[in-house]
Symmetry: C2
Subunit: 152 residues, 2 copies
DNA sequence: GATGATTATTAGCCTTGTCTAACTTGTCGC
DNA sequence: GCGACAAGTTAGACAAGGCTAATAATCATC
């Protein structure tokens, strides 16, 4: 039955769980996944405000491809987390924190997108992939992407 | 209050919801997110079987950085979805479908990783980022990544 | 072959993210 | 200024993915 020996060795350090290098990577990914949706919303809200002067739930729902109640519930969480402010039956606005996050996301998105395009990818696919990839790119990788895109 | 005009125009097509290009991208991302965890598990299970001859829940839990009950529940879903087989208190095995998925994921992982390394990223960061990115890379992008890594 | 440690499972809770159905509010036209 | 329709909210369901605590099975070992 294999009987492999993972007995002693990792008994030290009051870390948050084992600390297998692999486990850390997965935990990082899970952490990133938790923030993805908030980032997508905040980014979209910033964009809507920029383009239309306000962000209405109905437009968020359309762009995100979800129903209005889903948007309402998510906005509740964003408000709770201090990323947006809103009044009942009114448009949504970003807090300073939300605005900062939006800026950061937009930059990341922009860099990833330019990078994919400079690799020779078609615009539609680049947009789709950037949307998924942007949340999982470390600062270091982002810097390499930016450099590559510029150099091309 | 803006009164912007999204009235007619998108009234046709009995599509699955509006079909804003943006919405499609987000729906694609959400779709990908739903499969990520299953892919991570299947990939890891294949790896454990390859290395140790079997995949035990305890090892899966350690590598994934989650608790045993979480693994048990997730394995239940994987079994339900036909990706693995298992008997109570026994190790886990992949079905043919699971094996195919694992192969596919491993290839993708491998390509993304090689790509990031060939960009000049350090191995640890490359591994972490690859773990997050691999699920969001289209076939087309993957081909470009592979070509780039080879050419380097 | 009984027993103690390790491993696996079950039960039960919580949050997130999605939906539909039903209700309330706002707005625009007349 | 009222009535219809669009937009927003609330209620409630459901699945996924995480956890802890408690229970059950396996196994190593003497």
């Amino acid at each position: 039955m294999m009987a492999d020996d993972h007995t002693e060795a990792e008994a030290l350090e009051p870390e948050a769980r084992p600390a297998d290098p692999r486990a850390e990577a997965f935990q990082g990914v899970r952490e990133a996944r938790r923030n993805e949706l908030a980032e997508d919303y905040v980014e979209l809200i910033a964009e809507l405000i920029h383009e239309h002067g306000e962000a209405r739930p109905v437009d968020i729902a359309t762009k995100m491809g979800v129903t209005a109640p889903t948007v309402a519930k998510t906005l509740g969480r964003l408000a709770r987390d201090g990323l947006i402010t809103r009044a009942k039956y009114r448009s949504v606005f970003l807090t300073e924190e939300g605005r900062a996050l939006a800026r950061e996301c937009q930059q990341r998105h922009e860099i990833v997108l330019r990078f994919l395009l400079s690799l020779g990818l078609d615009p539609e696919t680049a947009e789709r992939d950037a949307e998924g990839i942007e949340h999982h790119v470390s600062e270091r990788t982002l810097a390499l992407f930016a450099a590559f895109a510029d150099r091309s």
